[in-house]
């Protein structure tokens, strides 16, 4: 018995059958310096900015409608020979920024984000 060959319709690049590529618009804000921004990115991501209220460190922004705050944590140990990251304002060694989300208006549950500032592992050849 002959097997019928099923043909899929050709993918239309234009017109009514075209699949739309969505670039969702996401709005962001900083609860401390009140900076605002907009991204158009389909993948999960976080918008960062240089925050004057966080000693000019690269600081994550919060989705619009979500309330919360940022906490800056300095290096918790002896710096020694570590190539740590320092804040541009006071030149203090920094370990992390913790973002505490307490709002649900943006559709997200309360929670906590964390941005760690990793030092460079380094060696010297002499």
């Amino acid at each position: 018995m002959a097997i019928p060959i099923l043909r899929t319709p050709p993918l239309r690049l234009f017109g009514a059958g075209r699949l739309p590529v969505l670039d969702p618009v996401r709005r962001w804000h900083c609860p401390l310096c009140h900076a605002q921004d907009v991204t158009r990115e389909a993948k999960p991501h976080t918008r960062y900015h240089t925050c004057p209220k966080m000693r000019y460190l690269t600081t994550p922004m919060m989705p619009a409608g979500v309330d919360g705050t940022h906490e800056l944590h300095e290096w918790d140990d002896y710096v020694g020979k570590e190539w740590v990251q320092r804040d541009p304002e006071r030149n203090r060694p920094i370990s992390s920024i913790v973002t505490i989300r307490d709002g649900v208006r943006g559709g997200r549950e309360p929670g906590q984000d964390c941005t760690v500032f990793a030092p460079t592992a380094h060696a010297g050849a002499h």
């Binding site: 140990d77 992390s96 929670g111 906590q112 964390c114 760690v116 380094h122």
Partner: protein, 163 residues
């Protein structure tokens, strides 16, 4: 034991390159970054086998993974691959860097993160998954709850060798 506040390149990783023990090519290899708790006691001078992922201090039992309801996808077992790696050799300095590394999703839960292991996930011979370096996060516990965990690498790189 503790992770401590030190970040080091493994001595044996330099030896691997010098002796051609394994075909390390950081121009094309894709290292991964796994997170570890404070039970981990990194040893810069460990034997080569003990620098590898899932061996020695870097056993899975010491690894921190995403424990959220949707986990461990946010930061899975074995870690997350580095993206956008670069290396620069100039002015008596060799630097290896990559894009900052966020968790895979924005509802990740991680507890008691003290540092990370950067290992060569491409190596299939010599010392498989050999450790390159470890980076401390400052000697205090870091973590996220239903959120995003991001490692911002130093402008001086993930690791560097001065000459």
């Amino acid at each position: 034991m503790a992770f401590g506040a030190g970040s080091e390149i493994f001595t044996q990783f330099i030896n691997t390159i010098m002796e051609n023990f394994a075909a390390v090519n950081l121009a094309t290899d894709v290292p991964k970054v796994a997170l570890y708790n404070d039970t981990t006691a990194p040893d810069q001078n460990a034997v080569v086998a003990s620098t590898a992922y899932a061996v020695g201090e870097w056993v899975v039992g010491n690894e921190v993974i995403d424990t959220s309801a949707g986990g461990p996808a946010g930061w899975p077992v074995g870690g997350i691959a580095l993206d956008g790696t670069t290396h620069v050799a100039a002015a008596a300095l060799w630097t290896y860097d990559a894009n900052d590394l966020p968790s895979v999703d924005n509802h990740t839960t991680l507890v008691n993160v003290f540092g990370c292991l950067v290992y060569d996930d491409t190596l299939a011979a010599g010392c498989v998954d050999e450790g390159i370096c470890y980076n401390s996060f400052g000697g205090a516990a870091q973590g996220v709850a239903a959120g995003t965990f991001t490692i911002v690498w130093n402008a001086s790189g993930i690791f560097a060798i001065t000459l």
